[in-house]
């Protein structure tokens, strides 16, 4: 039996460094944010102080804590609507990413070792260039005078339908979102698929399962942790994105990321921005919690 002392040391050595780092560099700032959601906006920006430095209540100005921001959020279904819409877009992006990433992850996982490294490199490489320039490239590709748009509208015209604009549309936003987040789906899926034991599939084949059954009954369930992680790594960032709707979006493509950005960089309403962000974070954590619970329930079942 191994000495319990070295066990405790190991446990300490592994758990403490990340915990400490995050407590300092994440939790403290996060607490500032939570506090901010309950403060008044500063008259000219930032946050109003918690205590009135001059003492007493100056007219028109408030200090201290308040629920006004939460009230403002619920005062109009508008804000909830933006949340819902963003969740839909995020779900769509995640689904499309999953469909596109799975074959690639599988291919990489089942390739011989030398090829595997090369393929992973090929996945990562586009993302070493700059995010903005890639989005701008899509502006070129989807532009009304470019080949793709002309082809599509040519076909539509032949069918007697109205021409559509590929750029400045929800379609363009979706393309942008999927494009930017694809590797975050491919990589976790790959790390999971790579450790699947081929023996299982051989056994299934010997038992008479066809290709679809082998996939659905063996590969898919085993890959679920990878699917969930990849989905999380796509779904969550998509929710917070504002650059893609800004550049590729049309006139109705405002997402929650844009709204939050506006609070900090447009309206100087930090408390409301903090409120929106907290609601967003809570929703995401709730979803993640639900996914984790579902995962555990299924494992207990299996």
């Amino acid at each position: 039996m191994s000495a319990p002392r070295s066990d405790r040391l190991t446990r300490w050595a592994i758990t403490v460094p990340p915990t400490l780092f995050l407590l300092v560099f994440f939790l403290s700032p996060a607490l500032i944010v939570v506090l901010a959601a309950f403060q008044y906006p500063g008259e000219f920006g930032g946050l109003a102080p918690l205590v009135n430095p001059a003492g007493g209540n100056q007219h028109g100005r408030e200090y201290g804590l308040t629920l006004e921001n939460a009230r403002f959020f619920f005062s109009d279904f508008l804000f909830t609507e933006i949340f819902l819409r963003s969740f839909v877009v995020a779900a769509e992006s995640t689904l499309i990413c999953l469909l596109m990433a799975y074959p690639v992850a599988w291919l990489i996982a089942k390739s011989p070792k030398q090829h595997r490294d090369l393929l992973i490199l090929l996945v990562i490489l586009p993302f070493a260039s700059n995010f903005l320039i890639r989005v701008y490239a899509w502006m070129i590709i989807l532009g009304p005078q470019a080949a793709l748009a002309r082809m599509v509208n040519g076909v539509l015209g032949a069918l007697g339908l109205e021409p559509v604009s590929l750029l400045f549309s929800p379609f363009a936003v979706l393309v942008g979102m999927v494009y930017v987040h694809l590797p975050f789906m491919i990589l976790p899926l790959y790390t999971n698929l790579e450790k699947h034991d081929p023996v299982l599939l051989d056994a299934a084949q010997d038992l008479g399962a066809n290709a679809w059954q082998r996939f659905w009954r063996v590969t898919w369930p085993l890959s679920l942790p990878g699917v969930f992680s990849g989905s999380a790594l796509v779904f969550i960032p998509v929710l917070g994105m504002f650059a893609i709707p800004d550049i590729l979006g049309g006139t109705r493509d405002m997402l929650i990321g844009n709204l939050i950005k506006d609070q900090f960089l447009g309206v100087r309403d930090w408390p409301f921005g903090a409120t929106l962000s907290i609601v967003l974070t809570l929703c995401v954590l709730a979803l993640a919690g639900f996914a984790a619970w579902a995962g555990r329930a299924r494992r207990a079942h299996a």
Binding site: P17, L20, F21, Y40, P41, G42, E43, F44, G45, G46, F72, D76, L78, F79, E81, I82, R85, Y136, M139, G143, P144, Q145, S165, L167, F168, D246, I247, G249, G250, T251, R252, M254, N258, L259, D262, Q263, F264, L265, G266, V267, R268, D269, W270, F272
Partner: protein
Amino acid sequence: MHRVACAVRTILRRAHGAHYLLLLLSLPLHAADTLYLYNWNNYISEATLARFETQCQCKVVQDYYSDNEEMLAKLAAGASGYDLIVPTGNAVEALLRSNQLRPLEKARLKNLHNIKPEFLSAFFDPGNRYSMPYAYTVTLLGYNVEKLRALNLPTDTWALIFEPRYLEKLKGRVTVLDSQRELMAAAMRYLGYSVNDSDEVKWNRARDLILRAKPYWAAFNASSYIKELTVGNIWLAHGYSNDMFQAQRDAEKAGRPFHIGYSIPKEGAVLALDSMVLHKTGRHPELALRFIDFMLEGNNSAELTNLIGSGNPNREAMRHIAPEIAGNPAVFPATEGMKHLEMLRDLDRKSRRVLNRLWTEIKLR
């Protein structure tokens, strides 16, 4: 301490280049005489900067912002060290009221008298105790001259972006600024109200006007409309005068079969006067003051106008400005035209919230 330990540990684990990385981790030392300038993108000519650097035997380091709000947000969060900033009027108002500016030692500004009197003592800084005018732009409409002529459309009215009878011909070829204040201001002027009127009833009318026109617009665009106009994807854009100047030049250089024109709508428009101010946390106010005086000289001020086509509040500069720019009524409006231009004032926080909700509605419906 911890992060140094973690860095060292991982570096040693992967070998190679430990010394290089540790060297790079060390903080850069500030040069003895460096001016930290926080300015708009492309709002000063490289030649001007170089000349100042030679004259003062110092270095100028620039950081950029593309929107007043961006700059205000960073300063509100506590960013410090900028010596000189170039905010627009309403932002100067906000900075002043939150006590972030250093007063100017006017006695040291030898070239003060160069400024045209109509640009002195603006609403945000009576007596110019904290700010000196730098340049101005007007928010207006830029368009593809040939296309609009072919469609028989007027070029000098906001109706172009708000009236369905005009918009029908321009469907999907129009962009408007992605700015709450600017778009609302255009709508308010079109409806005959002041851009600074914060009456909710009037704002609701402006919102309805915008929502009615929105289906015809391609996008809310604050950054790439210059390119879209020049390439010909967009035929009409709501934007800033200096951007339209750029689009005009780009189209010519690219040898396009069309020209870009721009004009101030007759109903009136927003004038943005940008001023130089000293930030409280700057460490070289001396240098900053010298820079202000330097930019108040006619030829230095003119360089910006010649570069980007911005309006110039400097009398002395007019001699050095290219005649086609000096004679452009969209850049240098005549006295009559000036009467229709308004400067945006800062809003109080309650109005900002009301506007915010309105804007969300505009974007969502």
